[in-house]
Subunit: 327 residues, 2 copies
């Protein structure tokens, strides 16, 4: 079985965007999307791609770039988040074998992370979600909230542990003109989070807390020697003890050489298969004739042992997202 742990509903019917536009204009409209419209939006896109690429199930969350926690206030974020999560729930209910729901959180710049707990609980307990996306920078590229390792975040972590769901560290779009969203802000956030983790005792405080760092871990595997060396200079414990029980990387790296590096330096127990389709990169690589984001191909083509591939494609997902296993 091949589990893609990182997919967003980037192909929602246009009514969703119109609802958001109305919301931001201070107008209240009903969201009317039929089941058939949802089916069409998925069958033409994510489901077609699952079939073409031979993957079985996708852990599915609202469009990351549209979370826009920096837009409007906490109430705006809460309403938008609830709507997006409900839509994900509908997708997953229509195709329960193909999509498993992962939640957006109603974060807002300066708002306490504990304020996200009610929506997280609703999604997990009432709707069967198995994880969530946690935005380390609700200010959208200005990085105004405390680091992920600050006790500011701890009430939310207590709940994540209690519910036994992991968080994917995933920013939204950037309102800082320095940072292109998918080309800089996403990758920077991944790198930043890892560095925060290795300089803190967060996993001593929460031994059962689990984070997935998407986009292949940002720059981290490429600079694995730098990170091991920085931690060593700071007299931190070896990574196996410090972070590798708690931090996982996905495989959203869009070329063979990148995936080969990831598989070479990161233990297979810490890698989870993902493609993030339909996502940031949609074209065909002229060097290979295949879609850049067809990450299954790179793993298939790698020299990794079959048992390790199985960990990446399936076993690790069951371990990191145990609520899926239980279903």
């Amino acid at each position: 079985m091949i589990v893609d742990i990182h997919g967003h509903y980037t192909t929602a019917p246009e009514q969703l965007g119109l609802w958001r536009k109305a919301q931001l204009a201070g107008k209240r409209v009903d969201l009317r999307i039929s089941d058939d419209e949802i089916r069409e939006s998925l069958e033409k896109n994510q489901l077609r791609i699952q079939k073409e690429r031979g993957t079985d199930v996708t852990f599915f969350s609202p469009r990351a770039s549209a979370m826009e926690h920096h837009v409007g206030d906490a109430k705006v974020s809460a309403d938008w988040t609830r709507l997006c999560n409900d839509l994900i729930h509908r997708c997953c209910s229509l195709y329960p074998d193909k999509f498993v729901a992962v939640a957006q959180l109603p974060q807002s710049p300066g708002a306490a992370p504990k304020d996200s707990i009610p929506e997280l609980e609703r999604c997990v307990k009432e709707l069967g979600f198995i994880g969530c996306n946690l935005n380390p920078d609700p200010s959208g590229g200005h990085w105004k909230d405390p680091p992920l390792t600050d006790t500011w975040w701890y009430p939310l972590y207590e709940k994540l542990v209690e519910l036994d769901v992991p968080a994917m560290v995933h920013v939204s779009s950037s309102c800082n003109p320095n940072f292109h969203a998918t080309g800089a802000h996403y990758i920077n956030a991944d790198t930043t989070a890892f560095m925060q983790f290795i300089t803190s005792d967060i996993f001593k405080d929460f031994p059962a807390l689990r984070f997935v760092i998407p986009h292949g871990g940002g720059a981290v595997p490429y600079h694995w020697g730098r990170y091991r060396g920085l931690a060593q200079d700071m007299k931190r414990p070896p990574f196996k003890e410090l972070v590798l029980q708690n931090v996982f990387f996905d495989t959203c790296v869009y070329h063979q050489a990148g995936i080969d590096l990831l598989l070479r330096v990161i233990p297979p127990e810490n890698i989870l298969f993902a493609a993030e389709v339909v996502g940031a990169v949609r074209g065909i690589d002229p060097e290979t004739g295949n879609y850049y984001d067809d990450t299954r191909r790179y793993i298939d083509n790698s020299a990794l042992a079959a048992a390790d591939k199985k960990k990446i494609f399936e076993d690790n997902a069951r371990r990191v997202y145990p609520r899926w296993k239980r279903k």
Copy 2:
């Protein structure tokens, strides 16, 4: 010949730090460092390492983390910068075969980049400097100034082209608690700059402008497929045309797998040897028994053809830093 294009004077005598402390306390003191003290600081460190590792010459600039453009105002930055550059000039004058000077710029948050021109000209024309470090975020982790591709920076670029010196894109320390300096801010800045470049026409405007992106290009080579794909989706020209005449990566990547990836995806014409010693990572890798930052070893051990290694070790440095060639 082996040219390390990225070294900082991280081992300056303590009087330098005391001068800075006094400056920030509003006191005026003279900097008194003897030639012998400079010799000792270099011979025990950078010169010893050059000898041990068999490298020949280092392009040498003030300590990057101490540039601290975000501390104090433009006048504070200008005085500190001039002092640091003068000290680099002394180092290079004492060991003209071993060190070649690269300048810090007197940047300051919100200050126009053109204000850095007089110090750049002084260093290049009067003191024989061959390049400079350009901080893309003088605000120190808050990213408040315009992107490097904004016309805000253009007067400085005109001068770089006129003087025929490249700029290394190099941030300083971070005053944003989210970003560890050498573990997150440095790498993020590298990634950010590249993404800015590929989404702009900066090199149409300045065909002769040259940037070196340090630390192996941040996350860029690891995500080379992502960047090629993003550019392609945006209908940008191929990288060879778009950036590879103007943008170069150094080899400050501290493990074999990272260097192997860099050499696999980036054309050898665009890679310049560097180690950044004495720098961010000072320990010995227990997996190899060698220093993490002994990057020469990784290149020696790679499968790259000898002619390509020569490009990386020497030829590209002559091409990107032509003022060194002329000396």
